[in-house]
Amino acid sequence: MSYSVRVEGLGKRYMIKGSNRRHRLLRDEIMSFVKEFPRKSESRQEFWALRDLGFEIAEGDKVGIIGKNGAGKSTLLKLLSRVAEPTTGEIRLRGRVSSLLEVGTGFHPELTGRENIFLNGVILGMSRVEVRRKFDEIVSFAGVERFLETQVKHYSSGMYMRLAFSVAAHLDPEILIVDEVLAVGDAEFQKKCLGKMQDISTGGRTVIFVSHSMQTVTSLCNQCILLDTGQIRKQGRPSEVIVEYLGGDAGSLGRVDFQGQGKTIADEHVQLLYGEVLDEDDQPILEANIRKPTRVKMGFRVKSRSGIRFMPNFHFVVPGGTYAFVSTPDILTELAPGDYEASCYIPGDFLNEGSYFVGLAISSYSPGLTIHFFEPSAMTFNVRDSMDGSVGRHGYANVMPGVVRPRLQWKVEEVSN
């Protein structure tokens, strides 16, 4: 497999000056040159936004870059799109690079729509001939045929954005860089960006995508890089990397064994032993198929005959902390001392794509509520939509909002004529 992007020993250093002033003055430079000519002392601190980064992206890969604010994501994008230059190391790029973080830059309000298409196209790296070839396509995609000779300062903000995006979208790059944070505009426009990205994804292009939405990363990317303080903390399949990012060490690969880890999560009556996420074939999984049923299981030990009717419950939480749902069994019985397993079956076509955290708890109600143990985010798993023409999408390729996506019964009928 040949690479499309290769990064070696990449580093970017910023100088933080002693004073907090961002701009330097020539005056100061001359004065300091005169005053302290022999010694070159300046109280400058250095800060490495990226340090010794190395990775390879294969041709056609869709790579999500995630990490906290300040982890170096934007700096990496700036280096990849050549806006900033590396301090150390090198980047090899095969093919034309363009980024959707530059939508609308270079537009001049005094120029007409037609003039701006050419100007912007050339700024973004197209040749004049290329712009002319794609001109009609760009115009009709933006839907501004009637306003071509109007100065863009008279455009509505929606028209302006559509035109700007249309030019950027027709670049045909081999490598596309998208920064979701910088994608300006309303929700609809952002969706359009994502939709275009999906189109490009299916066209075998390499896509590098910075996002805070784990849902989007899971659904769009097949590779993921987690940045942490300027270095790669984890790289691999999105599901694994996202688990690392969101859960730290809390989530594990489809199975968590508390007893084995020497962790005692218990009260005097009952102890949590392990938890598992299983597929149809009872195999522990990290990634669930959106169409297939999934089972979550917890193992627990009843320590004594107490007469308490234990109520195991599973808490499903999506990234960001929103509760998807809590599930408890319908029937509770008194349990004699011994080891038990409680399972909850989640049907296929019920969860939405994205990450879920599973909290494990046992409580009882007699008559007040007692929580015997509660281990939030004990496990993590991802639900993946394989996009194989799933029911309900009908060609719609974007993320479908919601914490669940149940398949429900529908009826569309004629009521009058």
Partner: protein, 285 residues
Amino acid sequence: MPSPLIVSKTVAMRETVLSANSNGGKAVWQSLWKARELLVFLAWRDIVVKYKQAVLGIAWAILRPVLTTMVFTLVFGKIARLPSGDIPYALLVLSGITPWLYFANTVNDCGNSLVTNSTLISKVYFPRLVVPASCVIANLVDLMITVLLLCGMLVWFGVGLKATILLVPFVVLALAMLTVGVGFWAAALNAKYRDVSFILPFLVTFGLYVSPIGFSSEAIPEQWRILYGLNPVVGLVDGFRFALFGEQYPFQVWTLVYSSALALLLIVTGVSYFRYVERDIVDII
């Protein structure tokens, strides 16, 4: 001065290598050549925007030199009574104002260009030299308008057009080269040091009075001529006047040769200093 460069080269499948290692200056010129279409478009943008309001744009291009000429003719010609040989004083002034305004306006524009285009620079990659270079091209339109005006005046005043007028394009080329050299330095310095934007207009205004704009180089005492000729604008303005007036205007050829050589030196050093500043330009503008 160390000048680490981004090395752009094409291997087999258009592979671009971005690295922190330095390489010869050839890459700079190659990337500029590749960006020639962008250069033309940025210049075209500035021209279109400037002359969009056709009346105001062209009127301004004519009014500025004409009004300056009137004032200078009054002050230097009528009040100070400086010599102008056989040349009508107004023509002498206009022929000095024409190259000077081009030089001064362009150097000012270059100085501000990186800051004016900062959104572009912080979002899209292209060789940054294109930005000040486009100012040099865009302002040629103003220069052409004034040269046409000047030709009309030559006929009007009965001086007529000499054969030496064919030299005008060459003098303009030398003028553009000096402007490029100074402009690159101005752009880079202004991006790096913010007080340059205050110093630059002052230097430009100052230059107006130490250059033969409102007067003829004849007015300079003989013993000062060499020192005075060290100002590179002198050779260009005098060369320009020689092209218009021929033998009527006293012209020392060495000043133009010196100006052109200095222009080349300024371009070469300006480009490498610009490259040096360009590395961090996104982080400082």
